[in-house]
Structure formats: structure tokens, C-alpha cells
Symmetry: C2
Amino acid sequence: MARAGLTAERLTRAGAELADEEGFAQVTVSALARRFDVKVASLYSHVRNSQDLRTRIALLALEEMADRGSAALEGRAGKDALAALADVYRDYAREHPGRYAAAQLRLDPETAAASAGVRHARMTRAVLRGYDLTEPDQTHAVRLLGSVFHGYIGLELGGGFDHSAPDTQETWSRVVDALDALLRNWPAAQGD
Amino acid sequence: MARAGLTAERLTRAGAELADEEGFAQVTVSALARRFDVKVASLYSHVRNSQDLRTRIALLALEEMADRGSAALEGRAGKDALAALADVYRDYAREHPGRYAAAQLRLDPETAAASAGVRHARMTRAVLRGYDLTEPDQTHAVRLLGSVFHGYIGLELGGGFDHSAPDTQETWSRVVDALDALLRNWPAAQGD
DNA sequence: TTGATTTTCCTAAAGCCTTTAGGTTACGGT
DNA sequence: ACCGTAACCTAAAGGCTTTAGGAAAATCAA
């Protein structure tokens, strides 16, 4: 019988689609085998195990987001850049909730260091170059931006904002405005 | 042979401990049965199913956090209240990572409405009373605070800050300072 | 073209988790 | 003491993961 043409890449891609359609938690070796109409054991020639599969999807998502981020940041600076990067993350999460969830997976240090995660860190710092922050404050700001993006998207995707009134798009712009105002006027360290 | 004295409550509590020790994902009906030295099927008299067990743990965590929050907010206002509430969440997450993870579980609307989640929303609004925000802005601010708390704690717990320099405690205070400054000086809606 | 080699995919099987059905047995109340 | 109601158990089916080892397609050489 003809072969299915399995490949780590094709499996990863199909896994990402599965994640977006059914949720990242539903990405299993078995489900993927069903998609390719192939026996489960066959996948193990291409992917080490279930964890490996999920990690590959995470890396794919990080890469895709980083690509979008780079493109969005080209030729932008200041608030423009901030808003662009923020939208990249939010839009990606809305278009690809499963992939976005995958990207939150905790990677072991070496994998993380070799991943597109470092590009993300660089991009955030690039945005912050548009503001006047001293070095230690820049790190605090990187963490704050990461927290807001990750936190907001997580809550919005999880339906945490479903039962309150103003629509989430409005809040999102106001949050970006607020971050811009904050970075433009970053408070000095408080005396104790 | 003597009975184990199972109860939905005891199972929930033990499940919460299991979550803190091994991670929320490792909370399974089987693991819990092993803890009580009881056959798996026995748990199904007290808990509807695996999902039900996890939901109960989530509700417990929400309740515990709300209790801490109420206590922390008593007699505080303004930045003091903001910092206190922020610390409640962060400290709880650090002490009880599994429970905290459980609290992120997406609940169906009725369950959520009957949960301590509403107390959390009330507490955040109470903190915001210490700042001068119009009604729609207050909602935006509620969402921003939720995002920052949830986002920061998620990243810190996930080890997202492990590989950068300043310690996370320092960043946390600066983030709270920043939020206070921001709320004190909330930017008006931007013209387009 | 054909034979050897490699790679792909399969069968088989063990282990763990979930969930349901139906049977015992311990305990509390009368 | 006895009786009914939990509480707990045995049994079994179904799903996912992972490994071991076999069969067949594709590749490449002579």
C-alpha cells in the first residue's frame, strides 16, 4: 500500500492545525495518527514521543510569531512599534489559539536558548529603545510588557473578559495607550 | 477492613496538595486513589469524574485566594491596597503553584458565577476606588491589573525570568510602582 | 533490470488512566 | 441485634503511550 509520506515537519504542521482546531491539550500522537490514517506506532519513527511532538509545535509557533514580529517592527519606532508588536501577539493568539497555547509550553534551557524565544526578547528590547530607560529599568519594562501581553491574551482567550461590558478591542487599545504613557514616564525607584 | 473516610472535601484537599507537590497536570483520579490506598473506582462515589475533581480544586484555590485578598485589603487603600492585593496573588502562587494553576482552569459560566471569582473582581474594583477613574476606564483598569498579575505570575512561575539578571522581587516592586503611577495618571482615550 | 539496502509503516503487547456496572461489607440508627 | 445506606471493591471496556521486532515500499547499484 502507498505510504503516507510522514515527516517530522508534516507531523508538526498537522499537529499545529489540530491544536488550533481542537485545543493544544487534544494534540496526541493517536489523534495525529488518525489524521494521517496511519497506525500510531508509525509516528514514533519521526517523533521521539508525545512531548517531543508538542515541543516541535511550540517551536513552530515561536518561530511564526517571531517572523510576524520582525515584519511588523520594520520601519516602526516608539508607540507605533509597541502597538504593532502587541497586535502581533494578540492577533496570532486569536488566529491560532492552539499554537499560541503551545508557545507557552515550558522548554528546557538548551531548547529554549536555541529557539525563536531569543528573537522575542530582542524584539521587546528593540521596542523599548524608543523610550528613554536606563539599563536595569529596561529589564523591568521587558518583563512588564511580557506580563501584560501574556496575561491579557491568556485572559481574553480563556474567556475571562466575556462577562463584562466594554468590548475587548477597546480595552486593548487603552492598555497599549497606558503602556506607552507609562514607558514614556517611567517612575524612578521608590524610596522605602 | 476499616474505611478510608473519603469525602469530596478530603479528596479536593488532597488533590490540592498533590497539585502543589507534583503539578496540577499530575492530579489524576488514580494518583489520588493511591494516596488514600483505595481502589480507583471508589473515588467515583464522591467525585463525578476527573474534570469534576479538577474543578473542585480550582474552586478551593479561588476561595483561598479570595480569603487572603479580603484580609489583606482590610484597612488599606490606594497604593497600599494595590501592593497588598498584588502580593496576595504572587505569594499564593509561589506557595501553592499547583492550586494557582488550578485556579486558571476555565470554568463553565454558571460555575464561574457561583465561584469566588466574583469576589476577586470585587476586590480589584475596591482597589481601584483609591484612584480617580471614570466608569469605563475602571473596567479597562480591572482588565489591565488582571493581565499584569496573571501574566507576571505565569511567567515567573514558568521560569520565564530565570535567565535574566535583576531578581524578580525587584522587578515585582517596580511593576507595582509602575501600576500605581499609571493609575494615578491614567491617560485619556487617544484621538485616532 | 534486478538485487541489496534503507526507511517506512505495521502487528503485537505491556502499562497506565478513565469510567461504568454491579456486588460486598462496614456503620449508624432504631 | 438488625437493617438500610453509604462506602468501597471486583471486573471490564476503551483510550493513549511507548517499545520491540517484522514486512514492504522506495532508493540505488551493478
